[in-house]
Symmetry: C2
């Protein structure tokens, strides 16, 4: 078999990946309040892209918060990290921890996009500065700039609080009333909307299908689908 | 356009990805001394897989150590992290830092393999315990076990030290002679060879082509190439 093996010096080129995948990798960054519907659109978009022969992968709390960006408790339990090391590397919800959470997600999304995929990220990512740093990391990627598409899911907080799919707003309000607080975005921690998002999904008047169509149209217009 | 958009509840299934990519995602973990030739084989394998219509991506020092697993200095410079936060999250070469380095790489490889890719990792990853933890994370993946293929690149240290492509062995020996040491694998820090690697590449008698063929044969035999 080894007689049929040929390769050149260096890594696979961006062109080789584009030819194989019929697309140019990019990060599609969904941001919005808890319960705004980010994951619903991201998951629908991922499915529709794959149905059409394109490759996408969603990074969200389900696959990131239990693994790469786990908290101290999980690190101690699954890795046997000491208390000191678990506290050092494990991520909580303090500002520095949230910043590092978003930094790692941005770096992983960048790797996926560099591999040629559409990396969909679905995290509140409440601070503008942190999202802008992820964007900058994509723009300054060593092997060439990678498209970064910020999608603001602008569901009003009243709607998010009514939906409250995981009961988190209720929990956060109770914590505030008890004088403790838990730094929950929209309750006792700020959400800073994007100043110039590539796309805004108006969740009060648009269905999931329309959100998916909005992103697909953008990808086509920018020539990212071949 | 939105009239043509259909999706089901939940995430894209493993079967949908396999159908699109004609492969089952897996992590191929290259381990061995500095200068053993891990990256040479990984890069050649990545190219050959892509030539044959399969999707692979290599995680290595070039794309991980400057981004996701950057050291304190880079975090301070590129992110404006305070000295305290840079030291907390930035990775150096102490045992806990190496463990966290390998943990994050294992978690990211797992995500790539979950997305359907062959995730190739090329890191010394000197400690058996850390590699075994990465394997365990793959076996216990929440949405189903992910194949983990450990490839031991067993180039003898004398050969690695003669090659010394980055001058690191020379630097490490000088540090030891000066009574400082730098915890360099094979000089003043141990390398623990895998006890039961899926594959061993005998770098003293085999060419890169043969290493690539060895892995391809394994992927075929295990039914990971469709």
């Amino acid at each position: 078999m080894s007689s049929n093996i040929f390769f050149h010096a260096g890594t696979v080129t961006c062109e080789e990946r584009t030819k194989l995948l019929k697309q140019t990798g990019a990060t599609i960054w969904f941001t919005g309040l808890s319960g705004s519907g980010k994951s619903t659109i991201a998951m629908a978009l991922e499915q529709v892209l794959i149905q059409r022969g394109h490759l996408a992968y969603t990074l969200d709390g389900d696959n990131v918060r239990l693994g790469l960006n786990a908290g101290p408790k999980i690190l101690a339990e699954t890795r046997g990290y000491s208390e000191e090391v678990s506290k050092r590397f494990g991520l909580g919800f303090a500002a520095a921890d949230r910043e590092e959470n978003v930094r790692r997600i941005g770096e992983v999304a960048k790797l996926f996009a560099d591999a040629g995929l559409f990396a969909l990220t679905s995290f509140i990512s409440p601070y503008r500065k942190d999202r802008d740093a992820a964007r900058k990391a994509h723009e300054q990627n060593k092997t060439g700039a990678i498209p970064f598409i910020e999608v603001y899911v602008n569901t009003p907080i009243a709607t998010c609080q009514t939906r409250d799919p995981k009961g988190l707003y209720k929990q956060a309000r109770a914590a505030v009333e008890a004088g403790k607080g838990m730094g929950f975005t929209g309750v006792d921690d700020p959400y800073e909307p994007p100043a110039n998002p590539e796309l805004t999904f108006d969740a009060t008047s648009q269905a999931t299908e329309q959100g998916v169509a909005l992103v697909l149209k953008y990808l086509e217009e920018k020539g990212l689908l071949k």
